[in-house]
């Protein structure tokens, strides 16, 4: 399956890029947001600290805020970002 991932604010600055296209093996049990985080965290300590560290990270699938249990489908747009601070 292919997905697109966006990173915002602190995450974008840490990575020095704001999006990527990712191809993943199909997961028979379904790819949850948590599984995707764990997959990305395996890339390096920087990724682990950014996604599974002390600072909270929120996720969205196709522009909707979701929790770690939410399932990702082929073609989805996923995003990771810090808790929001607008207004």
């Amino acid at each position: 399956m292919k997905i697109k991932i966006f990173y915002f604010a602190r995450l974008k600055e840490t990575l020095k890029f704001s999006s990527e296209d990712l191809e993943l093996p199909d997961d028979l049990d379904g790819l949850s947001l948590l599984k995707l985080k764990a997959h990305l965290a395996n890339r390096s300590d920087v990724w682990r600290q950014m996604l599974m560290g002390k600072l909270k990270v929120r996720g969205a699938i196709n522009h909707a805020l979701v929790d770690d249990k939410a399932l990702i489908n082929d073609g989805d747009e996923v995003a990771f970002f810090p808790p929001v601070t607008g207004g």
Binding site: A9, A60, G86
Partner: protein, 151 residues
């Protein structure tokens, strides 16, 4: 109902007048303007950068307005939120709600602001003498939003 994300400043007074001029059955208009304070957590703020998630932001704000419409008897609502680089005392956000009755307009306007603060994908970075820092979400904003959930 309208939602706008823009880098330019807005004329709050003009927006408010236009909102109330559209209908003859409006008895109350409540509006909120959020501004960049020159001081935050004790540090002088020279500028604020607002980042957002194009595409999701509009949907999140429209969902908030539509919840407000379902919960309260409102005639119209407007949200304008700026992004980009802002200086101290500049306007950040305008929320305006019209209704036949004031109680409904106050509730809906405060609900929209509390929801926007916790659900709309905006992030603020402050520049102070000590450098730049991303603002952290406040527990008080989560608590403010929690009040609106059925208990």
């Amino acid at each position: 109902m309208a939602v706008r994300i823009q880098t330019e400043d807005f004329n709050a007074g003009l927006e408010i007048s236009q909102l109330s001029a559209k209908r003859r059955d409006i008895g109350a208009l409540v509006s909120f303007v959020g501004l960049v304070r020159d001081l935050n957590d004790g540090d002088a703020v020279s500028q604020l950068t607002l980042e957002h998630y194009p595409g999701m932001t509009e949907k999140a704000l429209e969902a908030i307005v539509s919840q407000a419409q379902q919960r309260w008897d409102i005639v119209d609502a407007l949200i304008i939120h700026r992004v980009g680089v802002l200086q101290a005392t500049e306007q950040i956000v305008l929320v305006a709600v019209t209704s036949a009755h004031r109680g409904q307009a106050f509730l809906a306007c405060e609900f929209v602001m509390d929801s926007l603060k916790t659900e709309a994908p905006f992030w603020k970075k402050e520049r102070t003498a000590a450098g730049e820092r991303w603002l952290e979400a406040k527990a008080s904003d989560d608590e403010a939003r929690q009040r609106w959930n059925p208990s």
